[in-house]
């Protein structure tokens, strides 16, 4: 039980959560302008193209019109600023966070209600709903550890892993096990490949090999949840490289997922005084807040090397 609890509620510095909030809420604002950027044109268009998701029907969310969507966006922006600042009190901060969650879910669900559903937002939607649950968090001031923050980070991490792993599940469900030997990547490169992407079309085995690689990678991602710090960072760097390649070959950036990958990293270290050579010697404390082996009763030392300062 205690091992499960240590995994579910790791004691992480609140500063890490506060910094993840800054990143996520800043991204949410950008997302509404540059990622799910079709909501306003949809709302200005003809309602007969509206194909509401079950979520929108259950909650009786309105058929989008320009006044409605512009209001939602304005509310979400203001709430993002409040929720990211770390200066709102416990109650107002939480309220602002849940306003972002509800408003942004509404916004993205409108974007998905015109015939095309993307799955790149799953982790981000999870993030906006769990981030407010950890209460007030600051990236300045005395260090405080919080299992509530740890749980929120674990949820975002699970959201990221779910996207990869369930993509593999969907490939088996819709494409079958022989998805990997098909020409789906050729289809993607032909339709929307960049110059680099199209160059990969020939010979065809290159993209088939890439399909095998992607499918294997997606199946293996749940292991990241149980890796120790340094291997975890390496895995996240690998995923980052994958998204970079996808962007360079297809122009698909998957940023809503990439920003959530930050939940795997010890963000509070950006606030520490940089010290040459420290990163390489750091131990597994970054993600769990647990002491490194032999560090005694020091759950505090997320960066044991800097304690001497």
């Amino acid at each position: 039980v205690s091992r499960a609890a240590a995994w579910l509620y790791p004691e992480v510095p609140l500063a890490r959560l506060a910094l993840l909030r800054v990143a996520v809420y800043a991204f949410v604002v950008c997302d509404m302008f540059w990622v799910v950027d079709d909501v306003v044109p949809h709302a200005r268009g003809v309602a007969s193209l509206y194909r509401p998701l079950v979520l929108r029907e259950w909650l009786h969310l309105p058929v989008p019109n320009p006044g409605y969507v512009l209001t939602v966006r304005a509310v979400v922006i203001v709430a993002c600023v409040l929720a990211a600042s770390g200066r709102a009190g416990r109650g107002p901060g939480r309220l602002a966070g849940f306003l972002v969650a509800a408003g942004f879910t509404d916004w993205v669900s409108i974007g998905m209600s015109y015939g095309k559903i993307d799955h790149d937002h799953f982790a981000l939607i999870v993030a906006v709903w769990v981030l407010p649950t950890a209460g007030a968090a600051r990236w300045w001031g005395p260090r405080v550890l919080s299992p509530a923050a740890g749980w929120a980070l674990v949820c975002v991490q699970c959201g990221c892993v779910a996207i990869y792993f369930l993509s593999a599940v969907a490939k088996v469900r819709y494409g079958g096990w022989d998805w990997v030997t098909g020409s789906t990547f050729a289809w993607a490169m032909t339709r929307r490949g960049t110059g680099l992407g199209r160059a990969l079309l020939e010979p065809p085995w290159v993209l088939v090999a890439a399909q095998i690689g992607l499918f294997s990678m997606e199946l293996l991602t749940p292991a990241i949840l149980f890796l120790r710090a340094r291997w975890r960072y390496l895995a996240i760097a690998g995923l980052g490289a994958f998204h970079l390649i996808t962007y360079l070959t297809l122009g698909i950036h998957f940023l809503p997922l990439v920003v959530c990958l930050l939940a795997f990293l010890p963000l509070e270290r950006v606030l520490e005084r940089p010290r040459f050579g420290r990163f390489g010697r750091s131990t597994g404390t970054g993600l769990t807040g647990q002491p490194p082996p032999g560090a005694g009763a020091a759950p505090s030392s997320a960066s044991p090397a800097s304690g001497a300062g």
């Binding site: 268009g45 003809v46 007969s48 260090r143 369930l166 339709r191 079309l201 505090s300 304690g307």
Partner: protein
């Protein structure tokens, strides 16, 4: 920037905001429920259950001897010009993948193309209107995974009544 670790002094003095029983219980329940919903959506659900639908982008299989379809929109404007119209939200209120997502609906009811024309008019009131639309499919035929030629299919037509 503040060096947080330096301020806390000796190891073991960092305060921990502990979680009570109830706080732990609902969190465990919420994560479990979310995971089950996501799994259920992926195995049995479909797209309309977003955010718990299957992660199905690029999950379909294209065989090495299949064809690659890519639709586009061609239009005649009020001043008689025939041209390709960008199939994306800022242009006609819907993107290519969105039109493809409900293509059967367009085949059944070509008036939906009229909705795209109406959107174009609303989004670009100062430009010549679209009075006739052709939804076309650029088909790339594959042989052993290689491009083996193209053709152009007409899918749906609509003319302003």
């Amino acid at each position: 920037m503040t060096d947080l670790t330096d301020r806390t002094g000796a190891p073991g003095t960092v305060p921990v905001r502990r979680l009570g029983r109830l706080a732990r219980a609902w969190r465990a329940g919420a994560l479990l429920a979310g995971a089950l919903l996501a799994l259920w959506g992926s195995v049995l659900g479909n797209d309309v259950y977003w955010p718990f639908g299957p992660m199905s982008q690029f999950a379909f299989r294209v065989g090495p001897d299949d064809a690659i379809h890519s639709i586009y929109l061609q239009a005649r404007t009020t001043d008689g010009e025939i041209r390709v119209v960008s199939l994306n939200a800022p242009s006609v209120g819907s993107g290519r993948a969105e039109v493809e997502g409900i293509l059967p609906a367009y085949r059944r009811d070509p008036a939906l193309l009229g909705a795209l024309a109406e959107n174009y008019h609303r989004l670009h009131p100062d430009r010549p209107q679209l009075v006739e639309l052709w939804l076309r499919d650029r088909v790339t035929v594959l042989r052993n995974g290689r491009d083996a030629g193209r053709r152009d299919d007409l899918l749906v037509t609509w003319r302003m009544p």
